[in-house]
Symmetry: C2
Subunit: 555 residues, 2 copies
C-alpha cells in the first residue's frame, strides 16, 4: 500500500477561465471532478464552445471509475455529454445538478445509456479505494457541493466553486462544520476556488441584491426587463417575488431561461406564484406597468433574446421609451464591448439601463473574496495546497494567501496549470511532468433559438476543413456597405472563382442587405450573422465545415 | 444680430470614447474645443490611431478662428498635429498643455510655423464675437481648464474633463466660484463631462492613493515596478516622494514616461529629488530593495516597456521572484485581455502584481461621479444641457441626471452624437441635421521605442492600398507553429505566388521562429510582432502600406 501514490491531474480550468476538470488518481483508480466547457475567445470564430482534451483519460480508460459533479454551472458540467460519449462511467451529483445535465444530454444522441446517480450533502459513497463525502457549500447556484475524498494516503478536499454566504436566500448554510471536522482530523491536500482571490474583503450575500432590485421595481413606471444568468435560481426567485409584490405578470423569454426555470420549478427550487406567468407573445398587450420580462442575454451575445430586443429584432418584445432594463449579472471579462453596445442600443430607444457600476449591488459575486478564502484555508489547514479555478494570477494570489499557514501545518503550495501532474507519496509532494492536454473546439451547428441539425463536430484541428474568409467594407458612420463582399479561402475544396463561391458572395451580400444600419455598424452582430448564414450555405453545399471568418473593415 | 444663431457641432467624442472635438459657431466664426485622438479597436488592425474627420471644418476653412485646448490628455490633444496640418489657426491652452502638444509637433514636419498661445486660468481672451474665459478644474492631469464662452446670445460653458477633487495634491482647487458666478448671471448652454455618469457617489480624491501606495512600499522587500499613465503627474510625484522616503533610487523606463516627466519637470509641475534618478541600464546592478522602476505600459500594449519585461524581452529590466509590480491605472474597457495576460506573465515569474480590484484605490478616476456631476449642474443651472464625452449610455444617463433642474431653469437636454448639429437662436434650441463626420485612420509607421520613418498616412479608405492577410496556425498549449504561414492578399499589387510574397512568408516564419513559446501563445503579442515585421518588409519593397492582418488559428 505505502508504495502507491496519489496523482492530481488537472485537465482544465487551472491557468485558464472555464472548462474545469480535475482528475485524482490512486494506483489504477481515477475519479474525475467536474467536466466543464468554456466559451471561445473572439479569435476562435467558427467555434461554439471549447472542452478539455480527454486524451489522458482515454489512454487510461480502464482506470476511470466515476465523474463527480460539484454544481450545475456550464464551466463545470458543460462537457458532460462529450465526456460520456468517450467514457461512459457513473456520474454523481445532486439531483438538481443532474437535472441540468439531463437537459443537455437530451440534445445529443449518445450510443449507450448513461448512469446518473443522485447524491445528497453529507452522503458518503465508496468508489474503489476512495471514500467520498459531499459537503454543502453556498454559491450563485443552488445545490452546490464540495467533495472530501478519503484516500489511503489521507484526505483530499476539493471545494468546487463557493462563497461563504452568511444569509443565503434558501437558508441552506455552507456546511462549515463538516469542513472543520476534516480540518481537525488532518487534511493531506486542499484544492480551493481561486476566482476572486484578487478581491479584498468578503463577497456580499445574495440577499444584498434585494433592496436594490426593490428600489428599481419601485421606480419603474413602465415595462421592466430583467436579465440574469438563467442558473441563478436565487435571483429568479427574487424577481418572481418582487413581481408578485408589485402586481406585475412575468414573461420568461429565451431558450435557456425557459428550460432552467422549468427544471428548477420541478425540483422545488423555484416557487412560481400561481397565475403569474404570461406568454412572451402577450407582453406587448399587457399594460406596461403590469409586466416584468425575465430575459436571457446578460453578456450581449449577438443572438440572445436581449441583444435582439436591443436592435428591434425580437419577435415578441420591443424596448420603448421609459422602460427599465436591469442587467443583474457580472460582465465576464472580454465581453465588455458587446455588452456596452447592447446597452447603447437600448439607451437610444429611451430605456433606462441599470448595470454594473451604476447601482451596486445589482449583482453579487458567487465566489468568495480573500477573507472567505482565508476562512476555508484556516478551517481545513491542509498539508498541501493547490489553488484551482482561475487564471495564473489568481492561482498565484491564492497560493500567497495560504502562506500564513506555514506555521500551522502547511508544507507547500503548488501553483499547477492545466496538464501539470502533482504526485504525493509518503516522502512528500512534488510536480511530476505533464500529461497531454488541449482544447477541443466544438461546432454544434446550433444557434440559440434556431433549432438546426445538432451535428457535433470535434475539431481538434481547426484547419482540417480549411478556412473561408469574407472581407466586407462598411462605413462605420453611415452603415453603408462598399462594393461586393470578397471571399478568400485556403485549404478548402472549392476554387474561389467557382460558381459556389460566387453564390457565397451573394449570400453575404444578402445578409448585409437584410440588416439594419444599426446592425451593420455593430461588428459583433454582423460577424455572427454573416458567419451563421455562410456556414449554413457552405455546409449544405459541401457537407464540410470550414472555419468561417468574417473580416469587417471600417472605411 | 438677433437673426444669428449659435451652432454646436461635435466632430468627435459624443457617442464614442476618445477623439474629443467640439465646434461652436456663431455666424461666420467658429472656435474648436479640443482635438483628440482615439486608439483603434482591435478590429482595426494595421492602424496606429484614429482622428476625427475634418471635412466640415475644411469646408468652412475661412470661418475657423482658433483651437482651444482644455488639457493635455491624448483624447483631447492627440490630433492637434493633423489639425494644424489642415487648418493652421492659433492654439490656446495652458503652458503645460501646450508643452505636451509641442512634444508631438516635434515628431512631425509641418509646412508652416504654428501659433501656440499660452493662457492662464481666469484669463479672458476675445476671438471674433466670442469672449472666452478659462476656468481651473481638477482632473487626473495638472493644469486642466474649462472654458466659458460669452456669445451674443448668451454664455456657453464646456467643462472639459473634470472631477471635483476636494484635496488635490497640488492644492489647486477647482474654481467653483467662477462657475457659480456664471450660473448666477445665467448660462445658455452647458456641456459637461459624462465619462462617469454611471458611477454612484463621489470619485475619490487623488490623495486617497497615497496610503495604499505607501503600504505597498512598506511591504516590498525587493524591486518595485510601478506603472501609471505618464500624464498622471500627481501620481508620478507621489511615487518619487515615496521612493525618496523609502531610500529607493528611481529609474524612468519607456519613451512617453521619459518625455512627459521631463516636460513636467521643466514646467515646475514635478519635483525630482536631487540624485534620485538612475539610468534604466543600472537598475539590475542596484540592490533590489533600493530601486523603484517607473515604467510605461499600464494597458498591456504589446510593445510597451512593461509588456516586454513580462516576457523577458526588455533590454534593461527583468521581473524576478519577490518583485512587486503595481498597476496604478484604470483598465480601459477592451484592454482587459492583454492586461491580464501581462499580469499572468509577471505572476509566473514570481512577481506579486497589485492591480485593480485587489487593492483599491491603487488608482482613482480623474472623472467626476454622479454627485460631482450634479454639483456642477446645480451651480451652472443652464437653460440647455448637452452631455459630452462618453458612449451613448453615459450621455443618456447624464441627461437623465439633469432632469431635476426642470423647475430650476432647464428647458431641455439634448443627447447629441458626433455629427449631430444643435442650433440655438432667440426662438429656442433644436437639432438641425447632421454634418459629415468620420474616423480617419492614421498609420504612423512609428512603434513605441522603435524610431522608424515617421511617415504619417491619412487613410480614409483602409482598403486603398489593399489588404494582406497572413494565416498562422499555432498550438495553444505547446506554442508550436504548424506548417509555413500562408499569405493571402486582395487589392494589393503583388501576385500571391510572386517572389516577394514568398519572401514575405519567410519573414513571418522567421518572426515566429525568433519568438519564445510564451510569446507564441500570446496572440496579442504575436499579431503585433508579425504585423510590424511584415509592414516594414512590404513598405520597403513596394512603398505601399496595405492593411496587414495576421490571423492566428488555435489548433
Amino acid at each position: 500500500m505505502t508504495d502507491k501514490k496519489i496523482q492530481l491531474i488537472p485537465l482544465g480550468g487551472l491557468g485558464e477561465f472555464g472548462m474545469n476538470m480535475m482528475c485524482l488518481r490512486y494506483g489504477d483508480d481515477i475519479v474525475v471532478i467536474d467536466s466543464g466547457m468554456m466559451f471561445p475567445e473572439a479569435e476562435l470564430l467558427g467555434v461554439d464552445f471549447v472542452t478539455p482534451d480527454l486524451t489522458y483519460l482515454k489512454e487510461n480508460r480502464a482506470c476511470v471509475r466515476a465523474l463527480l459533479l460539484t454544481h450545475g454551472h456550464e464551466d463545470h458540467i458543460g462537457s458532460v455529454a462529450f465526456f460520456l460519449g468517450e467514457l461512459n462511467v457513473p456520474v454523481y451529483g445532486t439531483a438538481f445538478t443532474l437535472a441540468l445535465v439531463e437537459r443537455r444530454l437530451d440534445e445529443y444522441e449518445l450510443d449507450e445509456e448513461v448512469d446518473l446517480r443522485p447524491i445528497k450533502p453529507k452522503q458518503i459513497i465508496e468508489i474503489g479505494p476512495f471514500k467520498i463525502e459531499f459537503i454543502h457549500v453556498t454559491h450563485s447556484i443552488v445545490s452546490a457541493v464540495a467533495v472530501a475524498i478519503t484516500t489511503p494516503l489521507g484526505v483530499v478536499i476539493h471545494t468546487g466553486d463557493f462563497k461563504v454566504d452568511p444569509t443565503p436566500t434558501d437558508n441552506e448554510l455552507f456546511d462549515l462544520h463538516t469542513l472543520a471536522e476534516y480540518g481537525k482530523r488532518g487534511v493531506l491536500l486542499l484544492m480551493s476556488d481561486s476566482t476572486n482571490s484578487d478581491r479584498a474583503g468578503y463577497s456580499d450575500s445574495e440577499r444584498a441584491v434585494r433592496p436594490r432590485l426593490e428600489d428599481a421595481f419601485n421606480r419603474a413606471e413602465r415595462r421592466l426587463l430583467v436579465s440574469c444568468f438563467s442558473s441563478s435560481i436565487h435571483r429568479l426567485q427574487l424577481i418572481l417575488d418582487l413581481s408578485q409584490d408589485f402586481g406585475r405578470k412575468v414573461a420568461i423569454v429565451g431558450r435557456s431561461m425557459t428550460a432552467v426555470t422549468e427544471i428548477a420549478h420541478n425540483h422545488g427550487f423555484l416557487q412560481i406564484p400561481d397565475g403569474i406567468l404570461i406568454r412572451p407573445q402577450d407582453v406587448m398587450d399587457t399594460p406596461p406597468n403590469k409586466v416584468t420580462v425575465l430575459i436571457s442575454g446578460t453578456q450581449g451575445e449577438p443572438m440572445s433574446a436581449l441583444s435582439r430586443v436591443s436592435v428591434d429584432n425580437h419577435k415578441n418584445i420591443t424596448a420603448e421609451k421609459g422602460d427599465t432594463v436591469i442587467l443583474s449579472a457580472r460582465i465576464i471579462p472580454g465581453n465588455e464591448k458587446p455588452i456596452f453596445r447592447m446597452i447603447d442600443h437600448l439607451s437610444r430607444r429611451g430605456a433606462d439601463v441599470l448595470y454594473g457600476a451604476m447601482n451596486p449591488p445589482l449583482h453579487v459575486s458567487g465566489h468568495g473574496s480573500i477573507e472567505e478564502l482565508r476562512l476555508v484555508l484556516n478551517l481545513v489547514r491542509p498539508r498541501y495546497f493547490v489553488p484551482v479555478h482561475g487564471e495564473y494570477r489568481q492561482l498565484a494570489k491564492h497560493a500567497r494567501l495560504a502562506e500564513h499557514l506555514r506555521n500551522l501545518g502547511l508544507e507547500e503550495s503548488f501553483v499547477l496549470e492545466t496538464g501539470d501532474r502533482l504526485e504525493i507519496d509518503n516522502r512528500g509532494a512534488r510536480k511530476a511532468g505533464r500529461v497531454t492536454v488541449g482544447r477541443v473546439c466544438i461546432d454544434s451547428g446550433v444557434i440559440d433559438e434556431v433549432v438546426g441539425d445538432t451535428v457535433i463536430r470535434d475539431r481538434r484541428h481547426l484547419s482540417e476543413d480549411g478556412i473561408v474568409l469574407t472581407i466586407i467594407a462598411i462605413n462605420k458612420h453611415t452603415g453603408k456597405v462598399e462594393g461586393t463582399p470578397e471571399i478568400v479561402s485556403r485549404g478548402f475544396a472549392s476554387d474561389e472563382k467557382s460558381e459556389m463561391m460566387q453564390a457565397a458572395r451573394l449570400i453575404v451580400a444578402k445578409t448585409l442587405e437584410n440588416s439594419s444600419v444599426e446592425e451593420k455598424t455593430d461588428w459583433g452582430v454582423m460577424k455572427e450573422k454573416v458567419r451563421s448564414d455562410l456556414k449554413r450555405y457552405i455546409s449544405k453545399q459541401t457537407q464540410r465545415r470550414p472555419l468561417i471568418m468574417p473580416v469587417i473593415m471600417e472605411i
